[in-house]
């Protein structure tokens, strides 16, 4: 393990995989570098897919820039199918085998498919994860469907709803929970965004689920809700979460399941017996790692910023030699979303928050910074159209500042601690 690596294989040719490759070259790695991707595309960027690409403002070609001197071999359109950590080889779909000294697993996630497979197969039923999805859905939206039905109360559902309204399409957004976006933003902020969505013309239905879909031939024609209401639609987007791409690791002995691939603090993949899988690392959406900002609670963060930062941690650690020279992954999760004319930013994780305070601005103005606390400590902060002070809150979260974290500040009225 301490020998300098000569062959590095990256499984997953997306943001994390490419970021790791760049960092490895920057750090002077001169050996062979292979990136394996199941899609036929070179690494591309996903955030624009639900916004500019669907809107038709740019093509679905969001290929990420690559350094001209990257010297990486891309094996695209062939998924990895098997890992043998003892032999240190990865097997691809075409039967070829790649030996490695270091392996990065960055296989990410895929869209959770609509559970009823016959309904999922209907023309007019979409999911959105990759650029081919965005191209297909974008083409459908440009063809002016009668009504778009979106299922799911998360950011993808809301961003697509916002894009549909920009295109002046009638939209019904079905959310199973009582408040949208609550998992990430808490009920108060989630409620605010839901309110804005309604004002922008979204038919937002809470505590609602689909009972069944109706087809005309092989095309979607309508959906019936659990309460019996029938909505005619020829375009439905299921934005109901993601599944981690870990199935190919079955039989490898790695500790991987629906929650992700288990790693240690240095992002080294662990075997089921808790020991380190020699030379194997993980980064991005698929990696489940101990978060130092949350007492090492295991977390898999599906955000753009973490994918990049974690890939860089991994690249450094791959070249570090042994654990004593490695650094732990201490990225503070952060995230942004643009929808309905709002820019929403979040730092930290709000899970388990028991306190909430508006720090600057107000819910009424819809321009604000809020902080989230748990057990008297600051764990997260979010802003809507007002990100200027977030760096200070980021520092407060890193330092586990008492809640509420920042007082006597500019642009601040009396702080009132409330339930989230």
């Amino acid at each position: 393990m301490t020998a300098r690596p000569e062959r590095i294989v990256v499984v997953g040719a997306s943001l994390a995989g490419l970021a790791a490759a760049h960092r490895l070259r920057e750090r002077g790695f001169a050996g062979s570098l292979t990136l394996v991707g199941d899609e036929p595309h070179l690494p591309y960027d996903r955030p624009p897919l639900s916004k500019q690409v669907l809107r038709g403002l740019c093509t679905a070609d969001t290929t990420l820039p690559r350094h001209p001197d990257l010297r990486a071999e891309f094996r695209l359109g062939r998924p990895a199918t098997r890992l043998d950590p003892a032999a240190r080889t990865v097997e691809l779909g075409d039967g070829s085998r790649l030996p490695y000294d270091r392996l990065l697993i960055a296989t990410g996630t895929r869209a959770r498919p609509w559970p009823a497979s016959e309904e999922a197969a209907l023309a007019g039923v979409f999911t959105l994860r990759g650029r081919d999805d965005a191209r297909r859905l974008g083409a459908r939206l440009q063809a002016k469907p009668r009504r778009v039905v979106l299922v799911g109360g998360g950011f993808i559902g809301f961003e697509v709803a916002s894009t549909c309204r920009d295109l002046r399409l009638p939209v019904t957004l079905l959310v199973r929970d009582a408040v949208p976006l609550a998992a990430a933003l808490g009920p108060r902020l989630g409620g605010l965004v839901g309110e804005v969505a309604r004002e922008k013309g979204v038919d937002l239905r809470l505590k609602t689920e689909i009972e069944r879909m109706e087809a005309e031939g092989d095309r979607l024609a309508a959906v019936t809700l659990k309460d019996g209401e029938r909505i005619e639609t020829d375009c439905l987007v299921a934005a109901i979460g993601t599944l981690r791409n870990v199935e190919w690791l079955d039989g490898s002995g790695l500790e991987a399941d629906a929650k992700g691939l288990r790693c240690d603090a240095f992002c080294r993949a662990l075997l089921r017996d808790g020991s380190v899988a020699a030379g194997v690392f993980a980064a991005g959406d698929v990696a489940r790692w101990p978060n130092p900002h949350d007492d090492d609670a295991l977390v898999a963060v599906e955000h753009w910023g973490n994918a990049r930062a974690q890939a860089e941690t991994v690249a450094d650690n791959m070249l570090a030699g042994d654990a004593s020279a490695m650094r732990r992954h201490d990225h503070l999760p952060d995230f942004w979303s643009q929808q309905f004319g709002l820019t929403i930013k979040l730092v930290g994780l709000t899970e388990g928050a028991d306190a909430f305070a508006v720090m600057h601005g107000s819910l009424e103005e819809r321009r604000l910074v809020v902080a989230f606390g748990r057990d008297g400590r600051t764990i997260a902060a979010a802003s809507i159209d007002s990100a200027r002070w977030l760096p200070a809150y980021k520092a407060a979260i890193r330092e586990r500042a008492p809640f509420p974290p920042i007082g006597d500040a500019l642009d601040q009225t009396r702080i009132r601690v409330q339930d989230p």
């Binding site: 600057h360 006597d408 500040a409 500019l410």
Partner: protein, 412 residues
């Protein structure tokens, strides 16, 4: 060496030519308390953090209502208190906080449109060509007086709409008012008295100019601001105009002069810029890191702020030593090397946060046009004196003169 003595040494004009070893010393204590209770912040991470901290106020000027008595009752009891009150309430927006700051800055940004700024490129080139043309036949020039000063001054006057014939009056005013950025000067009673007189003079001048603009609006920023129905009141308008004029006189001058000085010290980079003028943008970013025109800005702590193991107490003056942060080895590998090819060059040359330099796009254009033209047209330029004599300011730092020997001037 105690922290206090160290910052005093930074302020000492004797160290103006090369403050960087002192900055390196300073960075050993990222947040250093001085004997007078001021806190100096000198490392990149801490600067980047404090520059976006809502507990840091920019409203830190000394109170103009505290002045020395002249003995004339009308002056002391009526005129000066009223004027002082106005000055206090209507400070330029670099010395103000949200929400007022945001409103005033937004109004200026509406006038400083990208089209208008880009439109100044041709004009900047014409002024540059003209100034370089005047160097013909001279074996020796002073780059500051002959070029670096008149160029940005002509540009800012043109943009704002100050008639060129009035420009010479601003030279003294701008230099005097820039002392507001130097903490060791601005608290001095003598300086304050001079600033008061100076501000009243420039305010009277601008008040008249605003009247003219309202009568006959022209294609300039002052006309736009003066005729904006939802715009600022006259006091804020005057303060804003003064701010833009002073900023236009006191900063880009140093960027251009420092730029030429650096290129002459590293002739390889001068040759490269001559051969590949398209590399100018990166070179200018590196200049803003390596020899920036603004070295520090002052602030005030509104609450106790824990940072880097120290707590800056409420009401403490804070000095953000931006130029030291731009040379922080933890952020920039080999920071004392001038390297325009440096990746990820997020220098603090234009500050950051909500007070990030409004004139940054204009300064970049001016520096680019100026440096590319100078290296292309000056034949065999060399430094007569290195280091050159410096202006007294430690915040707005730059050579007072930059005497150059020339072998000639090439055609345009």
């Amino acid at each position: 060496m105690s922290g206090s003595t160290l910052f005093e040494r930074i302020l000492d004009p004797a160290n103006r030519a090369n403050p960087y070893p002192l900055y390196a010393e300073m960075r050993k204590t990222p947040v250093a308390r001085q004997e007078d209770g001021t806190y100096v912040v000198s490392t990149h991470a801490e600067l980047a953090r404090l520059i976006s901290d809502p507990r840091i106020s920019s409203d830190d000027l000394p109170d103009p209502r505290k002045f020395r008595w002249t003995g004339h009752p009308v002056t002391d009891l009526l005129v000066r208190p009223v004027r002082a009150e106005i000055r206090k309430r209507h400070r330029p927006f670099i010395f103000r906080d949200p929400p007022d700051h945001d409103r005033l800055r937004a109004q200026v940004m509406r006038c400083f449109t990208p089209e208008r700024v880009r439109g100044m490129r041709d004009k900047t080139q014409r002024i540059t060509d003209d100034l370089i043309g005047k160097m013909r036949g001279k074996g020796r020039i002073d780059l500051v007086d002959d070029f670096s000063y008149p160029l940005p001054v002509t540009v800012i006057c043109e943009l704002l709409g100050v008639p060129p014939e009035d420009e010479p009056r601003f030279h003294g005013w701008a230099t005097q008012l820039a002392t507001a950025l130097e903490p060791n000067q601005r608290d001095d009673a003598e300086t304050q008295a001079r600033n008061e007189v100076c501000f009243n003079e420039i305010a009277d001048y601008i008040r008249d100019l605003i009247k003219d603009k309202r009568k006959a609006p022209q294609e300039d920023i002052l006309s736009d601001l003066a005729t904006d129905r939802d715009g600022m009141n006259d006091y804020d308008l005057i303060a804003t105009a003064v701010l833009l004029l002073v900023a236009g006189h006191e900063t880009t001058v140093n960027l251009i002069t420092n730029g030429m000085l650096t290129l002459l010290r590293f002739p390889g980079h001068l040759e490269r810029l001559r051969a590949e003028p398209e590399t100018a943008p990166r070179l200018i970013e590196e200049l803003l890191r390596y020899e920036p025109p603004v070295h520090y800005r002052t602030r005030l702590a509104l609450a106790d702020i824990p940072v880097a193991g120290t707590t800056i107490p409420k009401d403490a003056p804070v000095i953000l030593l931006l130029a030291a942060g731009s040379r922080d080895p933890l952020r920039f590998p080999d920071p004392d090397r001038f390297d325009p090819d440096r990746p990820d060059n997020r220098h603090l040359g234009f500050g950051g946060g909500l007070h990030y330099c409004v004139g940054a796009p204009l300064a970049r254009i001016e520096a680019e046009v100026a440096l590319v033209s100078l290296v292309r047209r000056l034949k065999g330029p060399s430094l007569v004196k290195d280091p050159p004599p410096y202006r007294p300011g430690a915040s707005l730092r730059g050579p007072r003169h930059l005497p150059l020997a020339l072998e000639g001037v090439a055609d345009e």
